[in-house]
């Protein structure tokens, strides 16, 4: 039960924020917000020992049981890692934002969105039900949209928000289709039950399609090539948001999805190749592009893309374990999965730290452009130290956790290239080679962050402020993260045993309990291949960094200058202009044209199918008809036919009245006293309304349309009348179903009323009546608004307020 409360706690808090913000309309509101993730973090920590011992926490609250959709939550080792990241980094980010955001910002909105995101993200990682997971998944996209567009007056923010939304929701819908395919194969929405059924799935025809669609969702969310283009534009968000959503948590949702679905799809060669290749390409492309960036945040965005690719490729390597033959091979390949999760935790620490430092630089100098920065070391010594810790860790240098992660990555790449179940030839050699090249670029941009910002010559003439060290409050959060960066290096097995190890059975359920599944992490492991690769990276990196200005020209030549943004803009722009063109073609703005479309379509579809399908079987059996009935039929026919030709609108209105009152009389013939009464009163009120409105409208002139138009109108009208008549005559002769009206004749026993019509209106079908009353009310309010609230003459339009 606590799990459910945990997920819904942030939502409840988000709902309370508007009220709270009225009481505390300044930055102190952040302290209350911070309590939410802190409490959740403490709660999760308290069950870590249990989870590490192999227990899980489950709770299911029925939601839509008929559709198999329940609020099923499940915490195992894998969701625990994410839960701790979401709440832990969340607390630090809120703390940081208290000092980062100005009090003039609408903090209420900011924190409400942030909490909304937090709840949604916890929902994603704790859900065991695919539909619930999908709902939370899209909710993270929506809250991310709101947070990117937080400074909505900027064009770039709106552009970035829309772009991220379009791409991630596009992937999300694909993922939903994949989930539904899985459901059609298994008959359950529960992830855990799906995993138990996994061995039987791979023969099914939809298996491959479902796999690709699920990957699509994961790749768009985690900004994998070629969907990575939204992440750099998402950097328009306030820096705490970038640190939280776009490096530490939301972009890792795709990683979570891939890890979570490894037991279902892992062990398939398609899965292995797609995940590994997309990951490794993203790693290379991201790090290569990061080097050429001038904006520090854009640099970090590309670096995030690249490292998400690294984690993704590790998960791909690891999935091979499920297809490997011997126990030893399985355990060896599964180390890649371990490395992925370990690297992910590390990445959250050092990348969050770096984002916060960039935020501090931006906050103090008003710019993040490295061409205007330099020499800040003396002015901001603490920030400098923290930046060095973060960058060197990212570059893979000791004594920071990034070193361990990078070594494990090299080891895994070497392992998978030297032996995996899917390739015998040297194709897999690609992985360590590309990984190594990408690491060189990673090393270069890490050096750029440190040197171009904090070392080198100062350029005071290019910044308009005198920079100084950030307030202590802003330094606390990055310092805590730096502590983890160093701490994990010295005590990696603490994390391995309590955090990463318990997640391994969730990713590799068939390997659970095998010895050596959770490795002993060592910083020093002799002069083996990974260490040599690291030394190579450092050597090549330093050379290339020093000679950077000589070779940066290559970014001007294809394919290095290619940018997928062009494709995106072309697609979106093309769709917009295309739809505008098509719409302008037929939306003439003339009401008659639209009626013509409707009736011509009606004639073609209804009339056409009636005659072409041979369904037209008119039933001309004449029943007896009384003289007075004939009289009224004739009266109505003449009144109707006269209407288009009369000269005065008063006459036309009175003819309409004749039709209305005659219908009331027909209602009496048809034994419908309620209808006759209503029709009489309504016809009176309607006629009064027409006459009232004529006071304001000019008398009508004779129709001066060209004869051709009149003939077309007449033909369409005749056609419509004929089709309706034909249908009615045909339907009259058919009795396909028994009437359901017998049921309503029990109205006295069922509803206590003897008037059946009234019982239907008030009881059997009261819902219709209720909605009708609401429609009536809306029409009344509409009339009132049109008349009473109209803009005063010459008072300007409403948009001007």
């Amino acid at each position: 039960m606590l799990v459910v409360l945990g997920v819904f706690f942030p939502f409840a808090a988000a709902g309370l924020i508007p009220l709270l913000y009225r009481l505390i309309p300044n930055r102190r509101i952040g302290w209350f917000v911070m309590a939410v993730p802190l409490v959740l973090f403490a709660g999760l920590l308290s069950i870590v020992p249990g989870i590490a011992a192999g227990k899980t926490a489950n709770v299911t609250v029925p939601w839509i049981p008929d559709a198999g959709i329940d609020l099923a939550f499940h915490i195992d080792g894998l969701s625990m890692i994410f839960g701790l990241l979401i709440t832990g980094v969340g607390s630090l980010v809120v703390l940081y934002s208290i000092h980062y955001l100005s009090e003039r910002e609408s903090l209420g909105h900011f924190y409400a969105y942030l909490l909304l995101f937090m709840g949604a993200m916890l929902g994603v990682v704790f859900s065991d039900n695919l539909m619930v997971l999908y709902a939370f998944w899209e909710l993270t996209s929506i809250s991310s949209f709101l947070l990117i567009a937080f400074w909505y007056h900027r064009k770039g923010s709106r552009y970035g928000a829309r772009k991220s939304m379009l791409i991630t929701v596009f992937g999300g819908i694909g993922m939903l289709a994949g989930f539904l395919m899985l459901y059609s194969m298994t008959g359950t929405f529960s992830i855990r039950e799906t995993i138990t059924l996994a061995p039987e799935l791979s023969e099914q025809p939809l298996y491959l399609a479902a796999m690709i669609l699920v990957m699509l969702g994961a790749f768009t969310k985690s900004a994998q090539f070629p969907f990575h283009i939204w992440l750099p534009d998402a950097m328009e968000a306030p820096t705490p948001v970038s640190a939280y959503l776009h490096s530490a948590t939301m972009v890792k949702a795709g990683i979570y999805l891939i890890a979570r679905f490894t037991p279902i799809f892992g062990g398939e060669s398609t899965w292995f190749w797609t995940v590994s290749l997309i990951g490794i390409v993203t790693l290379l492309w991201g790090s290569f592009n990061a080097v050429k960036q001038n904006d520090l945040k854009a640099l970090l965005a590309y670096s995030t893309i690249s490292q998400l690719g690294l984690i993704m490729s590790l998960l791909g390597f690891g999935s091979a374990a499920l297809a490997a033959g011997t126990d030893a091979e399985q355990v060896l390949l599964a180390q890649a999965g371990f490395a992925a999760l370990f690297y992910m935790v590390n990445h959250s620490t050092f990348k969050g730290l770096l984002f916060m430092i960039v935020g501090i630089v931006d906050h103090e100098l008003g710019t993040r452009d490295i061409r205007r920065l330099g020499g800040l070391m003396a002015l901001m010594p603490v920030s400098f130290t923290l930046a060095v810790i973060g960058s060197f860790s990212m570059a893979g240098l000791p004594p920071f956790n990034g070193f361990l992660g990078k070594e494990m990555f090299f080891q895994a790449a070497v392992t998978v290239s030297s032996g995996n179940p899917f390739t015998a030839d040297g194709a897999a050699l690609l992985f360590p080679v590309v990984g190594w090249i990408a690491s060189v670029f990673t090393f270069i941009y890490c050096m750029i962050i440190v040197y171009r910002t904090f070392l080198g010559p100062r350029q005071p003439e290019k910044v308009d402020r005198l920079p100084h060290e950030a307030p202590k409050g802003m330094l606390v959060s990055p310092a805590v993260l730096a502590l983890f960066v160093v701490g994990i290096f010295f005590f990696p097995n603490l994390a391995g045993k309590y955090l990463i190890g318990p997640a391994m059975p969730a990713v590799f359920p068939t390997l659970a309990g095998k010895p050596g599944l959770v490795p002993h992490i060592q910083a020093w492991h002799g002069f083996n291949t990974p260490l040599l690769m690291t030394i190579g990276v450092i050597a090549a990196g330093i050379i290339l960094f020093v000679t950077f200005r000589h070779w940066r020209l290559i970014y001007r030549f294809p394919p290095f200058r290619w940018n997928l943004d062009t494709v995106y803009r072309g697609l979106i722009g093309g769709m917009e202009t295309g739809s505008t063109l098509i719409t302008k073609r037929y939306m003439s703005g003339n009401l008659r044209d639209y009626f013509v479309y409707i009736y011509v379509f009606f004639l073609a579809a209804a009339g056409g199918s009636l005659f072409l399908k041979g369904a037209f079987k008119p039933d001309f059996r004449m029943e007896t008809i009384a003289v007075y009935e004939v009289t009224f039929v004739l009266i109505m026919t003449f009144a109707a036919l006269a209407m288009p030709f009369v000269k005065s609108r008063i006459t036309a209105t009175l003819l309409n009245g004749v039709l209305g009152y005659s219908i009331a009389i027909f209602f009496i013939f048809f034994r419908a006293p309620d209808l006759a009464l209503t029709q009489t009163v309504i016809e009176t009120v309607t006629t009064v309304l027409f006459l009232l409105c004529f006071h304001f409208l000019p008398d009508w002139k004779p129709e001066r349309a060209p004869a051709r138009t009149k003939i077309i109108n007449g033909l369409i009208a005749l056609g419509a009348g004929a089709v309706v008549t034909g249908f009615a005559l045909t339907v009259k002769g058919y009795v396909v179903f028994d009437s359901i009206s017998g049921y309503f004749e029990d109205s006295y026993t069922l509803a206590g009323g003897k008037n059946i019509v009234n019982a239907i209106l008030g009881d059997f079908r009261a819902f219709d009546t209720m909605l009708e009353v609401v429609v009536l009310f809306i029409a009344g309010i509409g009339v009132y608004t049109l008349i009473v609230l109209k803009a005063k003459k010459g008072g300007g339009d409403i948009e001007g307020k």
């Binding site: 003339n590 008659r592 009626f595 013509v596 004449m622 008809i625 009935e629 004939v630 109505m636 109707a640 036919l641 209407m643 288009p644 036309a652 209105t653 309409n656 209305g660 219908i663 027909f666 209602f667 048809f670 034994r671 419908a672 309620d674 209808l675 209503t678 029709q679 004529f694 304001f696 000019p698 109108n713 007449g714 009208a717 005749l718 419509a720 009348g721 004929a722 309706v724 008549t725 009615a728 339907v731 009259k732 359901i740 009206s741 309503f744 006295y748 008037n755 059946i756 019509v757 239907i760 209106l761 009546t769 009708e772 429609v775 009536l776 029409a779 509409g782 009339v783 049109l786 008349i787």
Partner: protein, 112 residues
């Protein structure tokens, strides 16, 4: 009498559509009014002719005419009243603002 009623409905629909296609707003609104008359007639006719008693349990022992179309029509009458009223007011407010009741000219009117 059903055949007569159905043909009458056809006539009403023809007139209504012809009025709807006109360029004068009042003609158009009258068209909607006539169209709803036509639909009400059609519904009550298709519900079965007058073979039965008034659907009041206190009045007779049955058989009764079908009460369901009656309930539907009652709803429809009130709704069509609401839309007619709204359309009328929309028409005259449009005339007040733009000075024309001709739908062909209306789309050329732009507010400064």
């Amino acid at each position: 009498m059903e055949v007569h009623m159905i043909i009458l409905t056809g006539v009403l629909v023809t007139v209504a559509v012809y009025l709807l296609l006109s360029r004068n707003m009042i003609r158009m609104i009258l068209g909607t009014a006539v169209l709803s008359h036509a639909v009400h007639l059609l519904l009550i006719t298709m519900g079965g002719a007058a073979e039965g008693h008034v659907p009041l349990l206190g009045e007779s022992d049955g058989p009764y005419v079908d009460a369901l179309p009656q309930a539907l029509i009652l709803t429809a009458i009130v709704i069509s009243f609401a839309t007619t009223a709204f359309l009328l007011v929309l028409a005259y407010r449009t005339y007040e603002e733009t000075g024309t009741d001709d739908l062909n000219y209306l789309r050329r009117v732009r507010r400064e």
